[in-house]
Structures are given as C-alpha cells and as structure tokens.
C-alpha cells in the first residue's frame, strides 16, 4: 500500500467490530467495518445471534400456535406480524374475515405502526445524539402499549389475532381512548419536529447521508420507508390492499432525494397518515361478528401461497406451503422486511464516516429479532 506515495509510513486499514455489543446496533447486529481513518471502506454484516429457527419451529407447530411465534420476530410490532400470518393462512383456507374484524385489525396495525415508529424515532435521534427525543417518543409509545394492554392484556407480544378473525372484541370505551390518543399524538408530533426537523445539526447529519436511487433501492429489495424515501411508490396497503385498507383514504408519502432526511420525513408523515386511518376506521367501525367461519380443525388444502402486508418496517411477507394432510404448515417462510433493509446497509455506509454508520443503522429501522428469526 505504502509503496508509491509515502514510503516512510506504513498505512493500514483499521478493522473494527461494531457489535454485537454496541449501544446503537439495535440489538445484536455485528458490523465488521474496515476503516481508513474514520471513513468506512468495507463492511461485512454478521447476524444470526438471535436465530431461533422460527421457520423450522413453525413446521412442527399447530397453525394457531404459530401466531405466538410470529410475535417474537419483530417484537416491537407484534400485531402486524400476527396480521400478516393470519391473513396468509386465511388466504390459504379461503376464509372470509368479517368486516368488523378487518376494521379492528386495521386499527391495531396502525396503532402498531405508530408505536413502532415512536421507537424508531427515539432510537434514531438518540444515535445521532438528541437524547430528549427518545424520552418524548417513548412517552407516546407508552400510550400505545397501554391501549394494547387494555385490548389484549399484553404489552409487547400481543398474540392479538386469530385465523379467521380476532380473539376479542374491543373493550367498551376503548374506541374513545384510541380517539383521545390520536388527538394527543397529533399534538406531540410538532414537539418532535421542533426538536429535529429544522434543527441545523440534524439537517447536516441527515441530508445527503446514505443516498440511494430509486432503481438501486428496488433492485436491492429495500422495502417500506427506505424504498419510498427513494421515490418509489410501493406500499402494500395501496398496491395489494389487505385488511380494510381499500376502504380508507390515506396518502403514501414519497421522498425525492433518497437520503436519511427524506426517510425521516416519510416516517413522520406516516404517523399522521396512521392517525388518519385510525380515525376513519373508528368512524366507520361496523357492527357484527369478529370471527369468521373457520373449521375447528384447521387443515388447508394442499397448496402454497405468498401474502405480504405492510409492516412498520416494510413488506412483511409469508410464504406458506400446506401439504393438505397435517395440521401444521409443511413450510413456512417469512420474508422479513428488516432482513431486506439490512442488506441495503452496506451500499449505504461504504464511503461514509463512522458517525454516519449509526445514523444509517437507525434510518433503515431494523429489529434483529426479525432479521434472524
């Protein structure tokens, strides 16, 4: 290396292990960074530290037991995981879900999106050094968790949906509380924005950092806000509507630059759109049963299907093969959005500084429980 330019000094790249124990790798992600000074020249992503073999386990569990396993993938957005799985099995069983159940599912999924984005916002800002936002965001996430606790008794792993519908109807007065929460959330969003959106340092840290073009992001399989940040119109809620999304009016925010700041703005806007969807769902909440006609013994006909939903992190897909004979899936594959977004990390960080690495880990919003399964 040092042969031509500076024969006196031997230069070498510094290999640094970021993680698995590191405050801002959001779990047990390990990045082997090759540094030239502070600049990242190469990066290897190592994961699997929380690989529990959920896909393998699912092949040996009852159809209903698997709902519980899906909770443990993206553990900050358990409700959307439940939703994705239940919908896929319903598609396989060709079961009609009652309208009321679909509405409540939508409300739960959107509450979950708010909760998950709160966590993302807090940790992302914390990584960049704005510690107050973390506490503010967690304050609101707490309200979401309280709502979930009242609905299903759990605060993190909800197990809140069943194949064919829902286990529980909403408690009386819950809808009023959700409405009140929406009002609170709307007043809190400007607080976050005041701390970050026009903050000079925030702008300098996020603008032009981790830029990825639309075609690149598509080819890389990015999904959710990172893909939309690059200006690609892709939202499963709009493109392949599930639950009750086709009945609601909402917008899909798109970015123009494809940088960290755009992804930040998009998620902030998604807060607002989620509130909008929840309000519409509460207004139009139909009466009726919450459970469809599902056979007691679940045994889908042999066949396979892929079904995706838009989890807070992106396109969460389930690919299920049923052999038509057992009461468990023959093969269950989860297409984890965090996994796909994490793949996009390397192209994003190479060439940036160490400080940007944490910023970019934050912006792709990964949960390692889902990456590793």
């Amino acid at each position: 290396m040092a042969t031509q330019s500076a024969p006196i000094f031997d230069t070498d790249e510094l290999v640094i292990n970021m993680g698995p124990q590191h405050p801002s790798t959001h779990g047990v992600l390990r990045l082997v960074l090759k540094l030239d000074g502070e600049r990242v020249v190469d990066c290897d992503t190592v994961m699997g530290y929380v690989h529990r073999g959920i896909e393998k386990l699912s092949e040996n569990r009852d159809w209903t037991q698997i709902i519980l396993l899906t909770d443990r993938m993206d553990y900050v957005a358990a409700a959307t995981n439940n939703l994705g799985y239940c919908e896929t099995v319903e598609k396989l069983l060709e079961v009609e879900v009652p309208r009321r159940a679909r509405y409540i599912r939508t409300i739960l999924a959107e509450l979950q999106r708010i909760g998950s984005h709160c966590l993302w916002l807090g940790t992302h800002a914390m990584d960049i050094g704005a510690m107050t936002v973390l506490l503010y965001a967690f304050r609101e996430r707490e309200l979401v968790l309280d709502l979930f606790e009242e609905y299903c008794g759990a605060r993190l792993t909800y197990n809140s949906m069943r194949i064919g519908g829902l286990p529980l109807d909403i408690p009386s007065g819950w809808d009023q509380k959700v409405r009140a929460f929406c009002d609170v959330m709307e007043t809190k969003l400007p607080e976050y924005e005041e701390l970050l959106t026009n903050n000079r340092i925030w702008l300098e840290r996020t603008r032009g950092v981790g830029v990825i073009s639309g075609p690149d992001a598509t080819a890389l399989g990015l999904c959710g806000p990172p893909l939309r940040g690059s200006g690609v119109y892709r939202d499963v809620r709009k493109d392949e509507p599930y639950a009750a999304y086709d009945e609601f009016d909402f917008e899909v925010p798109l970015g123009t630059q494809g940088d960290t700041y755009d992804r930040y703005l998009i998620r902030l806007e998604e807060f607002r759109q989620s509130i909008r969807i929840i309000r519409q769902a509460l207004d139009g909440l139909p009466e009726g049963p919450i459970m469809g006609k599902v056979p007691r013994l679940l045994k889908p006909k042999a066949g396979e299907t892929y079904h995706a939903i838009e989890s807070p992190k992106g396109e969460l897909g389930y690919f299920i093969v049923s052999d038509g004979r057992a009461t468990n899936p023959y093969r269950l594959r989860v297409r984890p959005p965090s996994f796909c977004n994490l793949q996009g990390l390397k192209p994003l960080i190479v060439g940036h500084l160490v400080a940007d690495v944490v910023c970019l880990i934050g912006t792709i919003d990964i949960v390692l429980g889902e990456v590793d399964r």
């Binding site: 640094i16 590191h22 405050p23 990584d127 704005a130 340092i201 840290r205 160490v354 400080a355 690495v357």
Partner: protein
C-alpha cells in the same frame, strides 16, 4: 511564612474540596435539569428529591472494582486520568471568585495565558487514555479528541486576544476591574467573541453537540471505554471541573465576574448588598444551566463537520474580530 505558605495552602484545600463537592452536585443538577427537559423526574430515591444521590454516586464509584485491561500500557493507563484531572483543578488557581485577595489563590499578571496553557494540557490525558487502553474505539476517540481540542484551542485563544485588546491586561482580576472601569460587561461590547468562546467551550469540554470523543452511541463511550471505578470517575471529575472552570472564566471575561449588573449605574447601587461572589456563582450557574440545556436539546455533530466549523468558521471570525477590535481601539 503565614502569607506565603499557610494561607495559600488553606485556600487551595478549601477550593479543591469545594470543587470536588460541587462536581458531585453538578452531576445531580445535570440529571435533574435534563430530566425536567425530558418530562421525567430524574433521581428520586436517595434522600428527598434524590439529593443524596450526589453523595452515593461517588461512593459507588470508589468502591467499584478497578479493572486494568491486560493488554493496556499499565503506567500510561493509570497516568491518563490524573493527567486529565490535575490541569482542570490547577486552572482554578487563577480564577478569582471576588475582587478581594481572600477570594483567589493567585493573581498572576498572565493569568489568562496560564489558564489557556494549563487547560490545554488536559488533552494529553484523553490522548493517553485512548492510546494506553490498547483498544480500537478509545484509539479512534483519542484521535478525534486531539484533533478537536487543538483546533478549538486555537479558535478560543484567538478570540480571547480581542478581549485582551479591549481590557489591556492578561490578569483575571485586571480584566474584571477593567470592565468596572469601562462601566460595561465585555459581553456587550464583544458579543461575537462571547459566542465564539461559548462554542469553543462546548467543544473543549467535550459537551453536546461536540461530544465526539466520548460519543456513546458511536464509540461506545470513547476514550474511557476501558476505564472503570475510580479511574473512570477521575475523567468524570475532570470533565465537570473543566465545565465549571470554563463557565467561571466566561463569566469573568464577559459578564463582569463578581460585578453586579450595570456596575456604573448609581441607581442600582442597592444591589451591592449582595456580595460579589454570589453574583459570580449566579453567573456560573447560569452557564452551567446553559450547558445542560444544550445537552438536552441538540444532536451531535459529525467529525468532519466539527472540524469544518472550527477551521472554516470560528478561526476566520476570530481573526476578523481581532482586526475589528484593533481598528476600533485605535480609532476610539
């Protein structure tokens, strides 16, 4: 004998104890202030409103196991925290807490210069800590620290030149007396210098938004990653002592030190019943609060941005400020 040795020694003992105790309470204050900013309570368990936390924390740190990594350079590893703390404490020698001789340890005629040179020794502690740990994150942090501290040292020093030009003296006491003579706090006639020094102070004390050498979320704690127990708390002490001393110096240079507001307005003479050192302490607290407020509000700069601000913004402005001050001084 009494004048040359005993009384200065007594002063030093009182001052050191005061600093160390105030640091522990300052940590408590910081936690409380930030907690309020973040709509939570902060420490509440030990004593009423968690006041005794300030006593319990140092005890905990002293009792903790002190670990030296096997591959560390043992001597430098132990030396680094001391090298970081001592200059911060020595700098207090030239800080007058009042106009009377009772209130300062020494009033040397190059006080400001002494202060600048002593505080810049502190960076050696950080560099050595990073180097001696023989670990990668601390090494990166110490590289950051050396680059950052040196470049901001230059900016701050150059800015202070304009203050010296205004006051015509390097003695700390002299500068405050010059403000009394001019009848105005220098913060008002040197606002640019004040802002620059504040920014530089944030950078030199490794505070948000310039806390790169210890950025927890990037470098897992930076230069003191490998430190534990009392050695770690020495770094802590040094950092907070630095904050106090730099707040004190800023108050002295720009906010009239122990002078009351508008020292030349006779109508406000009733304010003189409040002793000078209370005025000074009040001002120091104001700056401490400012430091904490900033910490609760702002994100962190990136390394290259920090260097850019230092070299491309602060230093040119400081130079321009010197020139303008000089011209005004000649003309007026």
């Amino acid at each position: 004998m009494l004048d040359t040795l005993v009384i200065p020694l007594l002063k030093i003992v009182v001052l050191l104890n005061a600093i160390l105790i105030s640091v522990t309470f300052m940590v408590l204050m910081e936690r409380k202030v930030i907690a309020w900013a973040q709509s939570r309570l902060g420490p509440m368990r030990v004593g009423p409103y968690g006041v005794l936390q300030a006593i319990v924390d140092p005890i905990k740190l002293i009792l903790k196991e002190d670990i030296t990594p096997v591959k560390a350079d043992k001597m430098l590893f132990s030396l680094a925290p001391i090298l970081s703390l001592v200059p911060a404490l020595v700098a207090f020698a030239v800080v007058p807490f009042g106009g009377d001789e009772l209130f300062y340890v020494a009033d040397i005629n190059v006080g400001l210069l002494f202060f600048l040179s002593v505080t810049s020794i502190g960076v050696y502690g950080i560099i050595l800590a990073g180097w001696a740990s023989n670990s990668k994150y601390p090494l990166l942090a110490s590289l950051r620290a050396s680059a950052q501290l040196i470049s901001y040292e230059i900016a701050v020093t150059m800015t202070l030149v304009s203050v010296i030009l205004t006051s015509g003296t390097l003695s700390m006491v002299g500068i405050v007396e010059a403000q009394l003579a001019d009848g105005v706090w220098y913060g008002f006639i040197q606002p640019v210098a004040f802002v620059l020094v504040m920014i530089g102070a944030l950078a030199e004390t490794n505070r948000v938004p310039f806390d790169l050498p210890e950025a927890e979320t990037e470098l897992t704690g930076g230069f003191h990653t490998e430190y534990s127990g009392m050695r770690f708390s020495l770094f802590f002490l040094a950092e907070y002592a630095n904050i106090i001393v730099i707040s004190a110096v800023t108050a002295l240079l720009f906010f009239g030190g122990w002078l009351r507001p508008f020292p030349n307005v006779e109508a406000l003479a009733f304010l003189d019943i409040i002793p000078g050192w209370i005025w000074l302490f009040g001002k120091i607290f104001l700056f401490l609060y400012l430091f904490m407020w900033i910490r609760a509000t702002l994100p962190r700069y990136r390394y290259d941005q920090l260097m850019r601000i230092g070299w491309k913004l602060l230093i040119p402005i400081a130079l321009a400020n010197i020139v303008v001050t000089g011209i005004v001084k000649v003309l007026v």
